[in-house]
Symmetry: C2
Subunit: 374 residues, 2 copies
């Protein structure tokens, strides 16, 4: 293998795939990045057995000069640091005696020990026969608005994942840790009209979102029995799936409410934020919200520290009043997911979930469970 | 105590003094900030018994409205968060029933439990009869260029401090952890011409530098037997001193060298940075520098990982050559302290300290000890 390649291009590719590098190092070879050079371009692959990321840099004009095809595994940590710190426009990479890697630029020369490609696990990144298509930006927003509600508790693995349900041209994404719930529906382009219901590990999909371009192109989602492959232009991202049945979250969302409160999103966020200053983590940041005509009051108190009372103007759809307590952190997480200026909170009862929605977008629903304080 | 005060002004003061708040909480009252309100203005004080910070906000135009003088101790963590998060231009603070603190703004009301001022330790922040004066900016630069070389090893407390020696109108600042040494001399205004030789804990002086304005006004240094008080306009910063005799660092600095290498500072930094990519922490980031006519070569190697060779053009004052090994991290720390474009490295021998200086400024000296690699 011998190539001269533009530094910025190589760095961009390495930054993407290196997110899959195993830090736990249970299998030493997985701390490496696989370089596969063909006459068409350079393919970079990294995997931690849970996720696999592959990017292909096609040859174009003067972006690379390929002298000899070949493959090698290079330690991810070092190659990333070397490429990041070299000041040159082009970097040369050459494999000598099969396992010696020579990386050089004008005034720099690195000799690294490589690993034979035969030792790298054989990871299939094939397309499925059928797939669905979704706009990159729409998908990125969808995940950002829901994935935070997944659980970190490995004792219930299903809740550590997000649920993606595809029925016809509707994709529904849900996440819940059993204390709060996020759900969003979007329209997609489902070529074959097949239906799917899968659970993707929350931390994996969050990693993917970080490297996904948020342009208006389409992302392909290829779904298999035990894995999912995302395909965006020259980027492939594959994750295992969580096995099991995801709870039917639609049963958890109340259909009717006795009171709808409409509030300015950023004011509501700030009021809850300030009301929770005196609550400590061990008390779960509990605040109490109550309405009094068109005034919303958010309170909290702690015997040792003191108490807070915050007020803001809201509008209501009727004369009913509510008094309800909840985790300020969970409510603030939920509020952060909205993009509009105004949100509505729907109250079903003092011990029933609070539904939060954007006034203008019914497709995103956030649910926060109340906490009994007596 | 009752005051209405501009939020930004109060926040600025709280941010300064809160750096002294004890996080260890050995003495609970030291996690509080002391408010002293007189008709002249508001004084804020915080201390962890090691350092004490006090700032005075004088009454001016409409920056505050004082309704009632008084004193109270408020939990530092909460008052800082409250003031930071309130959106209002003015904040009201009122002490009710001696120990209840009411903090309020237009839509917010906080009731905090205060602590009686009698319980706060009595810390003297008096001036000494004599003091020295130094330009703020000059002092800030001086400390930033030297304090990094102090030791973190508490078993030799003297080396965890920086040494400040004042002889006539010369202030000499030194720091060493016995592997490297930083020394700088500046001219000062010493009114009484008294001489001083003190050791200030490195982490304390570093905290002070963070809140010191780098304007062209003067800083007063009041030196006592066991403490030092810095006074800048309305800011007081007091630190204990380390007791003991600081080593005479001038004995450690070689007077003659057999070779002077002059190099571009940022190129030299980058070359050493890249040469150390493959060295791991356990190997102390050792790199080897050698000259070959007007080429400087920096190398490192590790049996498992590989080897690097970096080159750059330099100029020398004679035909001698040098080959010497040192810690890349220590050399990079030293190089970061220079502000000019060109530095010179003076070589005394393969096992003798390397002297690094700015080509145009003889007042700052960095010394890095070599490491034997055979």
């Amino acid at each position: 293998m011998k190539i001269k390649i533009k530094k910025d291009l190589l760095l961009e590719g390495l930054n993407k795939v290196s997110r899959a590098i195993s830090t736990k190092n249970l299998i030493p070879i997985l701390s490496g990045i696989k370089f596969d050079l063909s006459l068409e371009g350079l393919t970079l692959t990294a995997s931690d057995n849970d996720i696999t990321i592959q990017t292909f840099i096609p040859i174009e004009n003067d972006n690379m000069y390929i002298e000899k095809e070949g493959s090698i595994i290079i330690q991810g940590k070092y190659i990333l640091d070397i490429v990041r710190k070299l000041p040159d426009e082009y970097i040369n990479i050459e494999v000598i005696d099969e396992l010696k890697i020579l990386i050089y630029a004008e005034n720099s020369e690195f000799n690294l020990n490589g690993i034979n490609k035969k030792e790298y696990p054989n990871i299939s990144l094939e397309n499925s026969k059928t797939f669905v298509k979704i706009n990159n930006k729409v998908f990125k927003t969808l995940i950002n608005q829901t994935a935070f509600a997944t659980s970190n508790d490995e004792s219930r693995p299903i809740l550590t994942g997000i649920n993606i349900k595809i029925t016809g041209d509707i994709l529904e994404c849900s996440a819940t840790d059993s204390y709060r719930l996020s759900k969003k529906q979007v329209k997609i382009d489902n070529v074959t009209n097949e239906n799917y219901n899968i659970i993707i590990p929350g931390k994996n999909i969050t990693e993917f979102i970080k490297i996904l371009n948020d342009n208006n192109n389409d992302l392909e989602i290829h779904i298999f029995n035990n894995k999912v492959l995302f395909k965006q232009e020259n980027l492939l991202f594959q994750s295992r799936l969580v096995s099991g049945n995801y709870p039917n979250v639609n049963n958890l969302i109340p259909n009717d409410s006795f009171l709808k409160v409409t509030a300015n999103l950023s004011d509501l966020y700030d009021v809850i934020d300030r009301a929770s200053i005196l609550t400590s983590d061990k008390e779960k940041n509990i605040v109490t919200l109550e309405t009094n005509k068109n005034v919303l009051i958010v309170k909290s108190s702690s015997a040792e520290i003191g108490r807070v009372e915050e007020k803001m103007i809201i509008s209501k759809d009727n004369d009913e009043e509510i008094k309800i307590s909840f985790s300020a952190k969970y409510m603030m997480d939920a509020l952060k997911s909205f993009e509009g200026d105004m949100v509505e909170m729907l109250f079903v009862g003092e011990v029933k979930p609070i539904i939060v929605k954007d006034v203008e977008d019914p497709n995103l629903i956030q649910l926060v469970l109340p906490i009994r304080t007596y």
